[in-house]
Amino acid sequence: MADTPASDIAVSLRDLTKRFGDFVAVNGVTLDVPKGEVFGFLGPNGAGKSTTIRMLCGILPPTSGTGTVAGFDIVSQSEQIKSNIGYMSQKFSLYEDLTVEENIDFYSGIYRIEAGKKQQRKEWVIEMAGLTDKRQARTATLSGGWKQRLALGCAILHEPPIIFLDEPTSGVDPISRRSFWELIYRLAGEGATVFVTTHYMEEAECCDRLGFIFGGELIALGAPTELKKLFPAEIVEVRCERPFDAMGRLESLPGVHHAALFGAGLHLVVENARETIPRVLETIADSAPRAEQITPSLEDLFVSLLEQKSKVA
């Protein structure tokens, strides 16, 4: 990122830190997100994702470190940032007792959308959220997926260049989740930078680049394919009849670091897949097993990263 000109950077953080009393929620995060990127911020609950995003939106002052969003300083120019971003918080941000149209009209007033554009933007949100025949419905009566798209629509009525989404798809059914991501791509395709937090691995795969945060620290950063190359070992997928019983035996084999249940089978983290596979088949010969080397998934990577981290700690 070092050679990217500053004007192409949408979000830039240097040693960003947030403490709540003795608790360090975000610890020295340094990061650049170029314009037009879909950047995924991945990590378990409590890792510091929301805290970081709140600091970027200018609603939570950092303890130390600096950051700019759209070229504005997150501490001294937080109000300028607020005109240039769309933020969708983890809690639903809509007024449940207001109708779909009333919610849109409210944010339209807050963002002072020009009179000439107001109607067009409203129609855009309603169409995008698929709420054409629910314009007059109270927001409380809408299902999660609809609320989500409406909340996103309200947050980006003013067509901000940078969009922050804090776990936008938590608690939403898979089909709504997919259409929500299609929407994210559409916005990115139109030139917006999207900064999204998630703890779903399959969503993380959809991002241009990922930052993995754990215990307040950024422990990995890169495109999903690059990150997978960081994986320090190889993975063997084993399919057998009683994977749970086999797990202990397989873990004690030489060259096997770790075994974990994965779907209907087992994933073994091994030194060398080619050497290990025959030994595996020998060990559980009784149940006609299959074993093959696979590319590590993001989940494999993050589990191993987490284990490294906790060993260090």
Binding site: K91, D97, L98, Y107
Partner: protein
């Protein structure tokens, strides 16, 4: 300060109120209930005190004395007793609050021109009623005694005494001494205070609790726009309640309004601004609906009732507490409304209190603006 944003917030806030029956209840139903409840039930006038009589004398003379009591609007005869236990029973059961015992030798002593004692037994558990009825009873007895004396003098050919000091009372502002006329303007003040602070105490806290505030503070909206936008709809409700109160006073209770109606509204507008902002300030500081409404009740309802002079005269309070009453705006507003309603005072005399109210409103709005930060924590 952008008007577009203020009006968007005001409109949204108005929709919240009309869609939430609890807010509507606080805003519209409670004032109506309070007006009628207090208007009809809250009277400090003591009349028709239940009276029981033990007439041991049973003579024309004793009956003349008793008719002096029963003919007065201050007493209402509930029965005759024939023994002390009966009197005790009547007072214990609160059937009677005063008992009159006329002795056997009443007529004889009167006729003989000798002094005679008539006993009055009072229920002191309600000291207010006891004090008033004692005064009435003394007055009735004195009238009877004077009548007897004058008749006796006439009979013996003497002229009634000419010299005598007589007090000629002339009561200003509330010539019928109706306590309702005095209470009603205060009641308007109480209603304004309570609903104003209660309604607005919920607004900011609700947005923090629901999570919509986090969204709002990430937009370019300013604290001033939020505060003003949220004040406007509640101000309108307050003015509507005021109109309702003035009408009820006029139509149902015939409360005399001697001053100008516009002055009632002007004074209330200034007071409303302060009371609404106080609720808002509490909401901003606590960020919790429950806590905010409790605090709003304690800092508005109680002082408005007890320390405003609404019922309990400030002049009768111990000095330190009198000083304390100056802190609460309800005091000034009650004085203002009584001045306009009963005395028909002009602007000059009311300006001081009105200025204090305005000062308070400005101070609280400023403080709300300072206390509201577009940050989490």
């Amino acid at each position: 300060m952008k008007l577009r944003r203020v009006s968007a917030i005001a409109k949204k806030e108005f929709l919240h109120v009309i869609r939430d029956w609890r807010s509507l209840g606080i805003g519209i139903a409670i004032p109506i209930v309070m007006l009628f409840l207090f208007g009809y039930a809250l009277t400090l006038d003591v009349d028709r005190v239940p009276l029981i009589v033990w007439d041991q004398s049973s003579t024309p003379a004793s009956r003349a004395l008793i008719s002096g009591f029963t003919g007065s609007r201050y007493f209402s005869l509930v029965g005759y007793a024939r023994s002390y236990p009966e009197i005790v029973r009547a007072i214990d059961s609160r059937d009677a609050q005063i008992a009159l015992v006329v002795p056997v030798d009443f007529a004889a002593k009167i006729a003989g021109g000798r002094p005679v004692a008539v006993q009055a037994i009072l229920d002191g558990s309600d000291s207010n009623v006891a004090t008033f009825s004692l005064g009435y009873a003394e007055a009735v007895t004195r009238t009877y005694r004077d009548g007897v004396t004058i008749a006796a003098m006439k009979r013996s050919g003497l002229a009634p005494p000419r010299v005598g000091i007589e007090l000629k009372p002339r009561v200003w502002f509330n010539s019928d001494m109706e306590s309702r006329n005095y209470i009603f303007p205060g009641l308007i003040a109480i209603i304004m205070m309570v609903i104003a602070a209660l309604l607005t105490s919920l607004t900011f806290a609700r947005e923090w609790e629901v999570g919509t505030m986090e969204q709002l503070i990430a937009t370019p909206v300013t604290g001033g726009e939020l505060i003003l936008g949220k004040l406007l709809p509640y101000f309108a409700i307050g003015m509507f309640d005021l109109m309702l109160s003035v009408l009820v006073g006029e139509v149902f209770f015939s409360i005399p309004l001697r001053g100008a109606v516009w002055m009632v509204f002007a004074a209330s507008a200034i007071f409303m601004a302060g009371a609404l902002s106080l609720g808002m300030l509490i909401s901003i500081v606590t960020k919790s609906q429950f806590l905010a409404s409790q605090i709003a009740l304690v800092v508005t309802m109680l002082p408005a009732f007890l320390l405003s002079g609404f019922i309990f005269p400030i002049a009768n309070m111990p000095f330190p507490i009198q000083l304390f009453t100056y802190v609460f705006t309800a005091r000034y507003f009650v004085t203002l409304l009584r001045g306009i309603y009963l005395k028909g005072l002009g602007i000059k005399l009311l300006m001081g209190d009105a200025l204090l109210l305005a000062l308070f409103a400005v101070a609280v709005i400023t403080l709300s603006h300072v206390k509201f930060r577009k940050k989490i924590e």
